[in-house]
């Protein structure tokens, strides 16, 4: 068993296709998925919900001191993106220079390698964002 393998596998729908959840009772949307609506709690009714992958930059930074596994990607832009549907998510913004990033700029998801377990372990893919043309 390789560390992180099953962890990633069970999150693939979320990480590949932004499958979150929403509460049918209060219409709140959640990404990542929540099983309990913080507003309605037990009276809530949770169902899967697919996010569009479109949003805008809410805050950003350039990571110059990367953690293990991200060494050669640095410097990379990390942002909190406000998704069109409401929730915020943390993700890298790719194919851009740090100076191109501004709060409010429109972004959309791309499918990328996020981290690989060395050169012999599994590759974990998922969403990142790019600036919209």
């Amino acid at each position: 068993m390789t560390k992180g393998l099953a962890t990633h596998w069970r999150l693939m729908p979320q990480r590949y296709n932004l499958i979150g959840t929403h509460c049918k009772n209060c219409k709140s949307k959640f990404f990542p998925q929540r099983k309990i609506c913080p507003k309605c709690r037990r009276t809530g009714s949770i169902e899967e919900f697919k996010f569009s992958g479109k949003g805008e930059i809410y805050s950003y930074t350039t990571v110059c001191a990367p953690p293990q596994g991200f060494e050669y990607q640095a410097p990379y832009v990390l942002a909190i993106v406000k998704m069109k549907e409401g929730p915020f998510i943390t993700a890298q913004i790719v194919d851009c220079k740090p100076e191109e990033i501004e709060i409010g700029k429109k972004v959309e998801t791309v499918f990328r390698k996020v981290i690989a377990d060395g050169s012999s372990g599994i590759i974990r893919y998922g969403y990142k964002f790019k600036l919209r043309d």
């Binding site: 950003y60 930074t61 350039t62 990367p66 953690p67 293990q68 060494e71 990390l78 909190i80 943390t90």
Partner: protein, 388 residues
């Protein structure tokens, strides 16, 4: 049940790269000093709470509650490990406080310890990132400096806070640390040095970030009756408040206001029956310089958005209106994560006893200590005072 709780003894190791000492050495050294300071015997101790964030990843050791009790020569007593990321120490203090307050125990040890330098920096960063959301922050390449950078960016945009103001926090922390013989980074830095230090996560530079430090700290708590019987100068815990927020930064209501601190502060001020202006000094969680600005605003020492200005005007310096982090804070003193919350309590006790030496805050009677876990998902606040 209605008993007051006092701190009757304190002890801590020097903070730093303590190559010759093991995890268990650190906490035992700090514990022995605290017991000596309280003038008690080990067999008077009713229980022990140890705050430690990640001994498993930093020292390949779990089950540290029993380990610490054992190596303190106290095997047999009830011992509990407390974990709340960087707030582990503060929460251990609270658990010890509640144990005494409830009447279950008369004399309780609250300790905090982290041995961080035995692993490579990259591994330490991974361990620390355990305080965030592994699946939705760490997986995306987030680091703690980068999470605080995301907060700093919003604070700068929403309030016009400048990088000079953020940098001034670090300058002040190092000034204070230079007066603290236990500080890891007891040297002064200039504003220029801070602003030209190497970039970690834009806009935060290395001198805006706390480092990797070993250390331990211990305090002894006692019931009102025991405290009066044992020592002349107990420092009373007037309030203990704990609040939580979302684990991931991106789920917060705001990036520029720390909700858990607001909630915990509100309760602490109410329980202590004081107002923010009654606080003579505070030890706050400045793991990153922006965090101190966020803290002093949420603690209501100034309005939201005014923290940068308050710092720039020198109001948070040792001789200012509300001295913040007289110890040097996490930035200057060092931040061995589990030990930090207890070390904050020790600084408050020394200040209130009037034994803080060159960094003594004049007229320090009431102090507030503020310990944060993660990017703000846990906040624990205590108010300490010489008066009951």
């Amino acid at each position: 049940m209605s008993s007051k709780v006092g701190i009757i003894g304190v002890g801590m190791t020097k903070f730093g790269e303590l190559w010759d000492r093991r995890y268990r050495d650190l906490i035992v050294d700090a514990g022995v000093d605290a017991i000596k300071d309280a003038g008690i015997e080990g067999n008077q101790i009713g229980g022990m709470y140890v705050g430690s964030m990640s001994p498993g990843l930093f020292a390949e050791q779990e089950h540290v509650s029993a380990l610490v009790a054992d190596y303190s020569g106290l095997a047999g007593i009830p011992a509990t490990r407390v974990e709340a990321a960087c707030a582990s120490g503060g929460v251990a203090l609270r658990e010890a406080y509640l144990a005494v307050k409830s009447g279950e125990m008369d004399i309780v040890v609250a300790g905090g310890v982290e041995k961080m330098t035995d692993v490579p920096t990259g591994s330490a960063a991974v361990a620390l990132m355990g305080a965030g959301d592994q699946e939705w922050e760490a997986f995306k390449g987030a680091t703690f400096p980068s999470l605080y950078a995301l907060m700093a960016r919003r604070h700068m945009v929403e309030y016009g806070t400048t990088i000079e103001q953020i940098s001034q926090v670090a300058v002040k922390s190092h000034d204070n640390a230079s007066l603290n013989e236990n500080a890891h980074y007891g040297f002064k830095v200039t504003l220029e040095q801070v602003m030209n230090s190497s970039m970690v996560a834009d806009p935060l530079r290395i001198l805006h970030c706390s480092g990797i430090t070993d250390g331990a700290a211990t305090v002894i708590l006692a019931s009102e009756e025991k405290a009066k019987e044992l020592v002349d100068d107990p420092v009373w815990i007037k309030a203990s408040a704990l609040a939580t927020d979302t684990i991931a930064l991106h789920d917060r209501k705001s990036l520029s206001k720390t909700e858990a601190t607001v909630l915990a502060a509100r309760k602490a001020y109410k329980d202590a029956e004081i107002k923010p202006e009654d606080v003579d000094f505070a030890e706050v969680h400045d793991a990153f310089s922006i965090a101190e600005i966020l803290a002093i605003e949420a603690l209501d020492f100034c309005d939201f958005g005014e923290g940068g200005k308050l710092t720039q005007q020198g109001e948070t310096a040792l001789k200012g209106r509300i001295p913040i982090n007289p110890s040097g804070g996490l930035k200057g003193k060092g931040h061995p994560v589990g030990a930090t919350g207890i070390a904050q309590a020790i600084e408050a006790v020394l200040q209130i006893r009037g034994k803080a030496g060159d960094r003594q805050v004049k007229g320090a009677e009431t102090g507030l200590i503020h310990n944060v876990g993660g990017s703000g998902a846990t906040c624990v606040i205590h108010i300490l005072s010489m008066e009951k």
